[in-house]
Amino acid sequence: MLTGKTALVTGGAKGIGRAIALKIAEAHGNVAIIYRGSQKNAEQTLAELLAMGVEAKSYQCDVSDFNATKALVAQVIKNFGGLDILVNNAGITNDKLLIAMKEEDFDSVINTNLKGAFNMTKHVGTYLLKQRKGRIINISSVSGLMGNVGQCNYAAAKAGLIGLTKSAAKEMAMRGVTCNAIAPGFIDTDMTKELKPEIKEEILKQIPLKRLGQVDDIANLCVYLSSDLSGYITGEVIKVDGGLYI
């Protein structure tokens, strides 16, 4: 489905990003994974990707650093000879109730989850526009749609990502580049393991499908949105949340 295409996945070393990278490889796409601190996970994921017979590389980069992302994108394009798909998945949490949240707790989450996506979209988008074809997929969250206790920073960043998605979709559509967002609900990853048990239990009660999502639930949709099959979809936000937010 993605033969001959190259994808760049931020936060691709573990969790949802890792699953996305692997599913893209399964669809025969080449993959550049970006990690900030998870070097061991990145090495492991890279080994798995290479074992699948696709071209793959891992790069260390802090997506919140504008100049670093510019250099990174140039390097990836040079190494792979092109780029077709950007998946803005890198994200962190720093949960606290709003009144207990420090300025730096808010800033760090906004900088990685929202500004990081802007940085990557600007640099990759410039290339995709020239190419007159490309796919951008932003991993948002249902927290950005419905809010969540203890996550005012994360929810704000993820809601902002939806605005970024829709604006980029409108700006880039006339050049054949689509931009969509996936809004996962609660997915079984290290990130959701950090949630307090009582919050998790409360959430499970609210999910009609009565389970946490799996990373592949997100990755499968991401592959579809990366492919030619989704050519007429842009500016869309698709929830993958077991019915949590209907």
């Binding site: 410039t126 526009l129 020239k130 700006e171 006339m174 050049r175």
Partner: protein
């Protein structure tokens, strides 16, 4: 000098080597939309190894040439 280079970049961008361009030519007349303008200015910046502020009202090729001349002066 700057105009000549800008015209060359513009002709290559539009892939029309006999395109008539003067300082007074507007982006609209040249059938360039806002995204074309941004892309073109980025190419021009790269060619002159400089950067110009795009937040002003860029309407004519002359506007770009003037900004580039100021930037490299």
């Amino acid at each position: 000098m700057v105009l000549e280079k800008v015209v060359e970049i513009l002709r290559n961008y539009k892939d029309e080597q006999d395109l008539e361009v003067t300082m007074a030519s507007t982006f609209e007349e040249l059938e360039l939309d806002s995204l074309d303008t941004v892309e073109l200015v980025m190419e021009i910046e790269e060619a002159f190894d400089t950067s110009i502020e795009m937040d002003g009202e860029l309407q004519t090729i002359g506007d770009v040439v003037t900004l580039i001349e100021k930037a490299i002066a």
